[in-house]
């Protein structure tokens, strides 16, 4: 085993996370079509490769070979910058997500996480709040009224729903007392207490967060910025070729990250039921070493987290093909007059329950 310096290991993890995010986003496009076909009782993509599995490759070739088009009077630099920013901000946030517990080789302990910072949650929140720039700049630079309207809708929608999202996060912070996503995960992992994930303590907060996640990723029923019945294509009306592809891709990366964050904050992250029982059983009955048993638990935890993430991604797609789109005034009313008061109520409720001792402060056991 070659001993890697900490930064070396972390950069490898970041590269892997980067690749995995892109791979998952690629296959989300396939999954979206398959799920849409399933929900609408039709066949879906099945021509390219077995079960149509090569469809994303065919799409990529199509997008790359299409004509690069610049609308007349567009601001060229900003027109190119828009999709780039959308993609960069989408990919940046997965760096702090703890994908797994520690892996131990001899004396070397590795975190299955890009970077562990004690402001992980703020990092995610900050990057999410920057995500709207790609859409706004691209929409404005297109020199098209529909694009501009889409960009402005995206801006006001994101700002409105960020408030409620931040407030639902505050309730989590009150319980956990930490901004580190790894701490929050480890707090949900006490032996024999697997059913005390944060969702049990924060059901209302989770629902608020889920609705806001739909709005922040511009997914149906909140995809007003690209509402084709009113705005042609919304902010990406004038985009073609891979620039269009980057916008679509960024949306799927955002869905992946939002699913990962919800799994970590509310559904125990890489913890799964009976993990400590399994480890103890392996050590005592199968004569495993503690370290290798722990490594097995970490790998299984990684798979468990991805299982949760895929479940959320499926939920995103399920909702898209089930619910109709909101009207714009309904969207704003939901955000400002329902979700924000509910989020404030949730903070008060959490504070009251903490003081009354009904739910306890999170401790890493």
């Amino acid at each position: 085993m070659i001993e890697l310096p900490t930064l070396g290991w972390q950069s490898i993890v970041i590269l892997v996370v980067f690749g995995v995010s892109l791979l998952i986003a690629t296959y989300c496009t396939y999954a979206e079509r398959v799920i849409a076909a399933f929900l609408q009782d039709r066949v879906g993509p099945d021509r390219a490769g077995p079960f149509g599995l090569l469809q994303p490759l065919a799409d990529a070739v199509k997008l790359f070979t299409k004509e690069e088009f610049f609308p007349a009077g567009a601001n060229r630099a900003l027109f190119i910058m828009g999709p780039c920013l959308a993609m960069i901000t989408a990919l940046m946030s997965s760096a702090v997500i703890p994908f797994g517990n520690v892996i131990q080789f001899g004396n070397n302990v590795f975190n299955l996480q890009g970077i562990e910072v004690n402001i992980g949650m703020l990092w995610i929140f900050g990057i999410v709040s920057l995500g709207v720039y790609g859409v706004m700049i691209g929409g404005w630079a297109s020199n098209n009224k529909f694009s501009l309207l889409g960009a402005i809708r995206a801006g006001s929608q994101n700002i409105s729903y960020e408030l409620a999202m931040g407030m639902s996060l505050i309730a989590i912070l009150m319980i956990s007392g930490s901004l580190s996503l790894r701490d929050i995960t480890l707090q949900q992992s006490a032996a024999g207490e697997w059913h005390f994930w944060n969702i049990v303590k924060q059901p209302l907060g989770f629902i608020i967060f889920l609705v806001c996640a739909f709005a922040e990723t511009n997914r149906t029923p909140f995809d007003l910025p690209e509402c084709e019945t009113e705005l042609v294509g919304g902010y990406h009306t004038e985009y073609s070729s891979m620039k269009m592809g980057l916008y679509l891709f960024a949306e799927y990366v955002n869905i992946f990250v939002a699913s990962a964050v919800m799994s970590v904050l509310y559904f125990g992250g890489f913890n799964f039921p009976f993990q400590y029982e399994l480890r103890d059983w392996l050590v005592s009955n199968q004569a495993w070493e503690l370290a290798s048993a722990q490594n097995l638990i970490s790998v299984l935890g990684l798979l468990a987290l991805f299982g949760k993430i895929f479940a959320f991604i499926f939920f995103f797609m399920w909702v898209r093909w089930t619910l109709p789109r909101f009207r714009y005034d309904q969207l704003m009313r939901l955000g400002w007059t329902i979700l924000i008061p509910l989020a404030i109520f949730n903070i008060l409720l959490t504070g009251g329950l903490l003081l009354a001792g009904v739910i306890d402060f999170g401790v890493i056991k």
Partner: protein, 172 residues
């Protein structure tokens, strides 16, 4: 990279983009330069080990306030044709006011002597962490902190009043 060269790089970016804010012809470019300035300032906070401040600076300024700036500028569609003519008097007044602000800043910073107040032996490197900041804000600076929140409340009430529907007015 040693933190001193990182500091020089960030300072270069900060000054370059701050000049860009003033010199750019297109207001949207100005806003984007201002966002870049905030990012380099956050980089400075990170060098000072003030992670919380860095993140909050990005969230509040780059993530919220500048989005609203961009929003308004896109609505107004400012460009050279629609720019109102400024009289010579207002230009002179702006130059004098800006110059006076510079004098105040120089006067305030003149007495600062780096190296005398900083003592590596007793300096707490964790001072910028969230928990430390929270402790100080809720003990030593409790009153200013609460007063600032009252100020925010007043601003919020004012915004709601301005945005309120007048009698007989329809939004849709």
């Amino acid at each position: 990279m040693p933190s001193s060269s990182l500091f020089f790089f960030l300072s270069f970016v900060a000054l370059f983009s701050a000049l860009g804010v003033v010199l750019a012809k297109n207001p949207v470019h100005s806003v984007l330069f201002l966002i870049l300035t905030f990012f380099s300032l956050s980089g400075h906070y990170l060098i000072l080990n003030a992670q919380f401040l860095a993140a909050v600076n990005i969230i509040v300024y780059a993530g919220a306030i500048m989005v609203l700036f961009l929003f308004v500028i896109m609505f107004l569609n400012l460009n050279a044709d629609t720019e109102p003519h400024k009289s010579a008097l207002s230009k002179v007044a702006a130059a004098v006011a800006g110059g006076l602000l510079l004098v105040v800043m120089v006067a305030a910073l003149r007495d600062v002597q780096p190296g005398t107040t900083y003592n590596a032996g007793v300096f707490n490197s964790q001072i910028g962490m969230v928990s430390q900041l929270g402790m100080i804000l809720y003990t030593k600076y409790l009153l200013p902190f609460e007063l600032a929140s009252v100020l925010f409340l007043a601003a919020m009430v004012g915004a709601v009043m301005l945005g309120k529907r007048e009698v007989g007015e329809r939004n849709f």
